[in-house]
């Protein structure tokens, strides 16, 4: 489980949740921040998946052994 991606998604949700409270002239900050955090969460998740995917060579070697 990628805890960093979850943290970024929570930050995006918090920023979006504050949108109605923000003054109209500053609401764009909430929008940009939410979008940025969603992008960071996706990038973090992609990084997590690529780091935890077993290498192709390793999989082949284990097949040969079996």
């Amino acid at each position: 489980m990628d805890r960093r991606a979850i943290f970024f998604l929570a930050a995006a949700a918090m920023s979006a949740a504050l949108w109605p409270l923000a003054t109209p002239d500053k609401r764009w900050v909430n929008v940009w921040l939410s979008v940025t955090y969603v992008v960071l969460a996706l990038a973090s998740f992609a990084d997590f998946v690529s780091l935890h995917r077993p290498a192709k060579g390793a999989a082949k070697r284990s097949d040969d052994t079996a």
């Binding site: 960093r4 918090m14 920023s15 003054t23 900050v29 909430n30 921040l33």
Partner: protein, 330 residues
């Protein structure tokens, strides 16, 4: 008698500014000291100089927000502002004693609001201004986290050909002087303006400045001098929390955290939003730490900091309201 009271409360406001510099100096120099780029003595001198010269770069939009957008002008009096300041100073000293990096800015807003409500009731609060400040209590550290994380990733990616980490850190040791200067500039701009706002409110309440008037130059110079002197005196308990307890920083991380903090403060000062310099740098440090891995951030310390943030406004408001009760009874 009224002139004496006015001069006395201006002196208390400048005292608050001094304590603010003393309390927040850690934010400006924590990474420089913890990565041993400068000695503590030189680091505070470096930060104090840039705290002072900030008035040459930034306007007074934050001062205007504090003076005119927190409570209605009619409720402002010397007694209310004095009580608000006492609430903020008392809370700053309590958190300083416990080594918690709470926000001087939110203590000030909480103090002003508490004293004003004690005098005039809930309707004296200006909700538009408080909404603007309140939303950025949360957004400022989140912006710091995002910028700190992005800067750290971009920096590490652009330097990935450098084989030795020691060589990379050596290169960034001197860059930290620039980033610490930028952060101190932002700190001076945003925090000194809060005191300017308090003094402006006092002068408006006393009829010395028109309600639509600008901040007089002597107020600007006094506020920047007070915060610079406070920074020069320094506060070492909080340096420890900010510099090493949230996450251990290398020079490259220090540069990214301070640059992220400085950019956030420049933007907030330009937009007239009083944000917490403490929140901002703490967020930037968390962002830089989480670029390595999320477990590099010591969340129990970050959690204590968050509790100090949550408690600041109500605690400062309660002390200020009690102080106003005493002032009114005298």
């Amino acid at each position: 008698m009224e002139t004496f009271a006015l001069v006395f409360v201006v002196a208390v406001a400048l005292g608050f500014d001094f304590v603010n510099g003393f309390h927040d100096s850690a934010n400006s120099i924590a990474t420089v000291v913890s990565t041993r780029v400068l000695s503590p003595r030189l680091a505070v001198l470096w930060a104090a100089v840039f705290n002072f010269v900030a008035f040459l770069v930034f306007g007074t939009a934050v001062a205007s927000t504090i003076a005119k957008d927190v409570v209605t002008q009619e409720v402002l009096s010397i007694g209310v502002i004095f009580a608000g300041l006492i609430g903020a100073i008392a809370w700053n000293l309590i958190t300083f004693w416990f080594g918690l990096p709470s926000s001087s800015s939110h203590a000030l807003v909480g103090g002003m609001a508490g004293a004003a409500v004690a005098k005039g009731g809930g309707h004296v609060l200006l909700l538009t201004g408080l909404r603007k400040i309140g939303v950025f209590i949360v957004l400022a550290p989140l912006i710091g986290v995002a910028l700190g994380f992005i800067l750290m990733i971009v920096t590490l990616w652009s330097a990935h050909r450098t084989k030795k980490v020691e060589r990379l850190n050596r290169r960034f040791r001197h860059a930290q002087l620039v980033s610490a200067a930028a952060y101190s500039l932002g700190h001076g701009a945003n925090d000194a303006q809060k005191t300017m706002g308090i003094i402006l409110a006092l002068l408006i309440a006393g009829g010395h400045v028109r309600p639509t008037g600008e901040v007089p130059l002597w107020v600007v110079l006094c506020a920047h001098s007070a915060i610079a002197l406070g920074t020069l005196t320094g506060g070492w308990r909080i340096v420890k929390t900010m510099g090493s307890k949230i996450t251990r920083l290398q020079p490259v991380g220090g540069v990214c955290a301070e640059t992220a903090g400085a950019v956030t403060l420049f933007a907030a000062s330009h937009a007239g939003i009083p944000v917490s310099t403490t929140h901002t740098i703490a967020g930037s440090i968390v962002g830089v730490g989480s670029a390595r891995r999320l477990s590099a951030v010591r969340w129990e310390v970050a959690g204590r900091v968050v509790w100090a943030w949550i408690l600041t406004i109500p605690a400062a408001a309660a002390v200020a309201a009690a102080t106003y009760g005493l002032v009114a009874a005298l």
